[in-house]
């Protein structure tokens, strides 16, 4: 199937062995988009890799920035000012909102709901992208975070505008729920489809909403408490069956929790600088050592592993991409299902090929 199948969201193909309409064997084939990201990063300065991280998961460039900044901060021992931490949480949660919104749009499009739901999703995403453009200068390739803080402070009135968008969001989520959650076709096509048992998910290293839909309570925002996530009160929604429907529901509930985090962050954000005074852009050479920075990206655990030899560029640079690792159980989920279900199961994994192929 693919690579021009509408549900493959890019350059991706699946070798499927069928018996009638039932899947017997499945092998994902990717690598068409490979850009040598890790090797390029080993050749450019620490700062120069930051805009390249935007291009990994191009839907969530701000969370990618954060994971990389976190790794370098660990390596160089930099402190992030309060305000920058809040700005990071706000941008990361906005990213999560728009990622999940679009995913649900894509998922129902895979089921044959042509146009309308995806259009609604993109309408909401547009509002968030407008906010990103105002803050960072670009809609998708934000390149906003720096080691030791953020590149610039929020422009005047920006936080007020975020507040307005966040306040409106639950209404849109209600609308979404009304459209899909009880929808007969959606329930028939997703319940009991693509079941991923919790034990298998843990063994395969699956993270993010996919793992939580299988009933495993593991969220880095709770487990690792990176940044200032320890200060916010929010719940981690869990699924029970690990099917596509649960994955859809977990994401929907997660968006509601994101709205809660955003409300708290917008309420508490202090004034002050957004960059560590010790951080520098030119001639940045961290001491020799290694560091692994990880965050709960919308798709799962996104980690950057860096080794420094004291030079201006990393000696070793490795990305742990959630999309790529979540794809490894595609065959387990698809075998025994009908060929039409493969499309929906792939849609529920939430992949961005920029991150899979790097």
């Amino acid at each position: 199937m693919g690579p021009h199948h509408p549900s493959t969201h890019g350059v991706f193909r699946m070798d499927v062995v069928l018996e009638g309409e039932t899947v017997v064997k499945l092998k994902p084939v990717f690598g068409y988009l490979h850009r040598n990201h890790e090797k390029i990063a080993e050749g450019t300065s620490y700062l120069g890799s930051m805009p390249y991280t935007d291009r990994l998961d191009y839907f969530c460039s701000l969370t990618n920035n954060w994971a990389y900044a976190l790794a370098v901060e660990k390596l160089a021992g930099l402190q992030v000012p309060e305000r920058a931490e809040y700005l990071r949480v706000i941008t990361a949660e906005l990213t999560r909102l728009q990622n999940h919104t679009c995913l649900i749009g894509f998922l129902v499009q895979d089921m044959g709901a042509l146009g309308t739901p995806l259009m609604y999703a993109f309408r909401e995403r547009e509002k968030i992208l407008d906010l990103f453009e105002e803050l960072t200068g670009a809609r998708m390739m934000c390149n906003y975070m720096r080691f030791g803080g953020c590149r610039c402070d929020a422009p005047s009135g920006w936080l007020e505008r975020v507040k307005r968008v966040v306040a409106e969001y639950p209404r849109f989520l209600d609308e979404y729920e009304k459209l899909f959650t009880e929808n007969e076709i959606l329930m028939a096509r997703t319940q009991g489809v693509g079941v991923l048992p919790g034990a298998l998910a843990v063994n395969a290293g699956i993270t993010g909403p996919m793992l939580r839909a299988s009933g495993v309570n593991y969220d880095l925002r709770k487990v690792d408490r990176y940044g200032i996530y320890g200060r916010f009160s929010f719940r981690v929604p869990l699924g029970a069956h690990g099917d596509v429907y649960d994955r859809y529901m977990v994401r929907l509930l997660e968006m509601r929790e994101s709205v809660k985090i955003l409300e708290q962050a917008l309420r508490d954000i202090p004034a002050g600088p957004v960059m560590d005074s010790k951080a520098k852009l030119r001639g940045f050479r961290p001491k020799p050592g290694e560091a692994y920075g990880r965050i709960e990206a919308p798709k799962g655990e996104l980690g950057f592993y860096l080794i420094s030899d004291g030079g201006p560029n990393p000696y070793r640079y490795r990305v742990r991409p959630p999309s790529f690792i979540n794809l490894t159980v595609l065959e387990d989920m698809c075998v025994g299902q009908k060929v039409a279900d493969v499309v929906i199961i792939l849609g529920s994994v939430d992949i961005v090929l920029g991150e899979v192929d790097r």
Binding site: G48, S49, P51, T116, T136, G137, A138, N143, E175, L281
Partner: protein, 192 residues
Amino acid sequence: MMVTARNFAGSYTDPARLVTVEYPEERLPQIENARTFPFLVYDGENAQAGLRCVACQICEKECPPQCIYIVKDTTKKRDHAGKLQMQPKIFDIDISVCMGCQICVEVCPFDAIKMDVAFEHSTGDRFGRLLLHKEDLAKPNSYYQRIHPTEAAETDARMAMERAKAEAKAKEMAAKVAKATETFDPGKTPGA
């Protein structure tokens, strides 16, 4: 069905969704922070004489996709603070390679390169016209002030402070020199 119907009706009645911007006759208001491609800032009227760039090649070295190409000129010129500085003979940016990350802007110690908001770069020529030269890239400070007012005001204030400092220092030096010449003037009779 209700949701769809409400959304359908909303697209005709909701004032926020009625608006269609008829580009290129109409344009959306410019966002101050927006960025597209870099340009070079010059002070005063003459693009060549007022160019702030001193060809230090830091941006060339730091540019992640390596799309900047600089060759130094052999003659030097004075910058805004009166210091003798290098200048670029060639300054090219290949905007078909540039990814608009603004790292060149951040690393420039001379406030010479800034991000533009112009986005209409399409051309029929696939290679030549997308390589912008020094002449295409140079834009006056007034343009910079118009597109990024807040940022430009900060830059101008910082540069004015540097200039004032340099002038004060030069004055001090001149006074010292004058005093020294006065003391050791061989033509003057002491006590006269």
